[in-house]
């Protein structure tokens, strides 16, 4: 590799054949480049009489934003093939940070397109990327790489796991786009759960997402979320969970109704296993003094004859469809 100073205007940044990293430029890098310029050389190579960037996309972007005209570069000889150059880009970044799933998919796609054998990708590169060395993982990654920039950006930013992407790929393209608009700004867990719940609901009902989203319980919430009201996400999730878990949701509602009618003394709290695997109630009370304790216990024991207690235990012991 030859070291030299290059003009930013000589770089063909449209040619992204070696780019698979997705981190955008951040303020820290901008401040650093603004203060001392780019010290660490980027890597370039010539293709069809233009300089193509191999590694250093963030540095180049930062340099442009800071109005630099030149920056240091290491040039890989033109006669080195695309695959060998990609390996440089890959390992140069590999040591620096773990890649997101989106970046892994792009790297694999490029290896594949540059004719690296499927066997070698599976045996050598999937384990390097902490992915199972299986043919089906190669297929999944190739599919992910084609999802489009907007999706890849969300997958990257929220650090999605393969299982979520796989579920997403189970939706037709138009539904994927709708889902993306719905979840784009949410946390990773919210995104995963919404996709999972819509997937299940769709399979159960046989309805398309458009019809599901129009249903009374969901329409308002999806509408609010699509307008950017992120606070609607938790309520949408609760509504979806209720649709997918009718037995437990029904029991929770009934239990909570009994607890409300029971009218417990203010410092007494009831708790139970939300999965309803256990059939016991946990009762806790607050007391700062013996007198508080006596009072709480007395007011609690005064409720014991109420029929709601029996109903509560019946609900906890419920057996049925």
């Amino acid at each position: 590799m030859v070291y030299r100073l290059i003009k930013l205007s000589d770089l063909n940044l449209e040619d992204r054949r070696f780019r698979f990293t997705l981190n955008p430029v951040d303020q820290r890098l901008l401040r650093s480049v603004g203060a001392i310029g780019v010290l660490q050389p980027v890597i370039i190579t010539a293709r069809q009489d233009r300089q193509v960037l191999v590694d250093g996309w963030r540095r180049v972007e930062a340099a442009r934003s800071c109005g630099l005209e030149e920056l240091p570069a290491l040039e890989i000889a033109e006669n080195i093939g695309d695959l060998a150059v990609l390996l440089v880009a890959f390992f140069e970044n590999y040591a620096k940070r773990p890649f997101s799933l989106a970046e892994k998919s792009l790297a694999i796609r490029k290896f594949y397109d540059f004719r690296l054998g499927a066997d070698e990708i599976i045996e050598r590169f999937l384990p390097l990327l902490e992915l199972p060395p299986e043919g089906r993982m190669l297929e999944l990654m190739l599919e992910v790489s084609l999802l489009g920039e907007r999706f890849l950006e969300v997958i990257h930013r929220r650090d999605w796991k393969p299982v979520t992407v796989e579920l997403l790929l189970g939706f037709p393209e138009a539904e994927r786009a709708w889902l993306l608009s719905l979840i784009e700004k949410l946390t990773r867990n919210q995104q995963r759960e919404i996709i999972e719940n819509f997937y299940l609901l769709k399979r159960k009902t046989g309805k398309c997402l458009e019809d599901l989203a129009r249903e009374e319980k969901l329409a308002g919430l999806t509408g609010r979320l699509l307008k950017g009201e992120i606070s609607a996400a938790d309520r949408l999730l609760a509504a979806l969970r209720e649709e997918n878990s009718p037995l437990l949701s029904g029991l929770h509602r009934a239990i909570e109704a009994e607890v409300r009618t029971l009218g417990l003394p203010p410092k007494v709290r009831l708790d139970y296993d939300r999965a309803l695997e256990e059939t016991i109630l946990r009762i806790s009370l607050e007391a700062g003094e013996v007198t508080d304790l006596k009072e709480a216990l007395q007011s609690l024991s005064e409720t014991l004859e109420k029929k709601e207690w029996r109903r509560l235990f019946q609900l906890l012991h419920y057996e049925g469809e």
């Binding site: 499927a118 066997d119 599976i122 045996e123 199972p132 060395p133 299986e134 043919g135 089906r136 297929e139 393969p162 299982v163 796989e166 579920l167 189970g170 299940l200 399979r203 159960k204 997918n244 878990s245 009718p246 037995l247 437990l248 029991l251 999965a275 309803l276 695997e277 256990e278 059939t279 012991h317 419920y318 057996e319 049925g320 469809e321």
Partner: protein, 362 residues
């Protein structure tokens, strides 16, 4: 072996000259054979495939196992039934949508161990070390006990080892028909041939390659006719619209062909699976509806039906068995203490020892 589809046979170099290896290869004549240094070579080949699980079921690996006998791990938080397992074969040629081996075996081919003499010695040691009480032991934990039996005749080898070993109950558990070799040997009192059962509609949609319900029950009936005790496993019980009627028909069908006295035990267990199975099964069985049900994530991390529903299923099954006076043959598989307690409360049997609920056999 009907339906056994082996694309290739792989032989571990260390058993290449073994007599049983030769016999197995004769039985598999016509298939390509490759000698390898370890299972890793086979796994590597299988993993390249886009469906490694499906592929693993079509490659047979002949090898020697380092050891065979271990206690059945059950599930943390569940009441164990004191079972031991013999890992003689690994993997299974059948392809059930709910099979946890899909997630567990990670590219392991159908594996047959030929160092049976070592198993014989391990068994002798095992018999010596556990001289009193009842011990149940089976080969159906990481494989189907009889799926490859026409090829290996492992059942005959095992029956001879367990003969005259009272207190040690060998269970051969299967979804296959009855291999002819089992009818050529005389039965032993402590050997139970058992079949996992589900309604025919479930078998057709979820248990690819297995024998149909009728064939399994006829196999059980012939085994009883020959003098064997039999067992049945309702595991996994699946809940779906119309399940009650379907399972009722299965229970009725059992007692049309098999007398209560010949039944050693019947286990009940409802659908459960580790989270890793979910994406795999959805991918491999896109038509299956069983993963669309309501599940909870239990304390040990598995997905299960909610407890109220599990108890309901067990109670309904118990009532069906009670109709034939066979409710005392029932036990629960991988269930919590809470569910065991409620279950035995409901069927009103004062069992002393829930971990092995068959005092009538002691």
């Amino acid at each position: 072996m009907a339906g056994l589809r082996i694309k290739k046979v792989w032989v571990d170099r260390k058993v290449e000259k073994d007599g049983l290896t030769r016999k197995l290869l004769d039985g598999l004549a016509g298939r390509p054979v490759e000698i390898v240094d370890s299972v890793e070579a086979v796994r590597r080949f299988i993993r390249q495939h886009s469906d490694p699980v499906g592929e693993s079921k079509q490659h047979l690996f002949i090898t020697a196992q380092p050891s065979f006998i271990r206690p059945c791990p059950c599930t943390p938080g569940c009441l164990g039934c004191g079972y031991w397992t013999i890992d003689l074969d690994l993997n299974c040629p059948f392809d059930c949508s709910y099979c946890i081996l899909q997630d567990y075996l990670d590219g392991q081919p159908l594996t047959v161990a030929v160092n049976r003499e070592q198993l014989g010695s391990e068994l002798e040691e095992f018999f010596k070390q556990r001289p009193s009480g009842i011990t149940r032991i089976g080969t159906g934990e990481l494989a189907d006990s009889l799926a490859l039996d026409e090829l290996t005749e492992n059942s005959v080898f095992l029956i001879e080892r367990f003969r005259d070993r009272p207190g040690f109950w060998l269970e051969l558990k299967s979804k296959a028909g009855l291999p002819p070799a089992l009818l050529r040997v005389s039965p032993a009192d402590n050997v139970v041939l058992s079949w996992s059962l589900n309604p025919q509609a479930v078998i057709a949609s979820e248990e690819k390659g297995t024998a149909g319900l009728e064939e399994r029950l006829r196999a059980a009936s012939r085994a009883v006719g020959h003098g064997y005790r039999v067992g049945f496993h309702f595991d996994p019980i699946l809940h779906y619209p119309g399940w009650h009627q379907d399972y009722e028909r299965v229970v009725e069908a059992i007692f049309r062909l098999v007398p209560v006295e010949a039944i050693a035990w019947v286990s009940l267990g409802s659908l459960r699976f580790p989270p890793g199975l979910l994406p795999l099964a959805r991918r491999r069985f896109p038509q299956s509806r069983i993963y669309e049900h309501e599940f909870i994530r239990s304390a040990e991390g598995k997905y299960r039906y909610p407890r109220p529903l599990r108890q309901w299923l067990y109670r309904q099954l118990a009532e069906m068995f009670a109709g034939f006076g066979a409710e005392d043959r029932l036990y629960l598989c991988m269930e919590t203490v809470e569910v065991w307690r409620e279950f035995y409360g409901k069927i009103k049997r004062g069992r002393q020892n829930l971990a092995f609920p068959f005092p009538w056999q002691c």
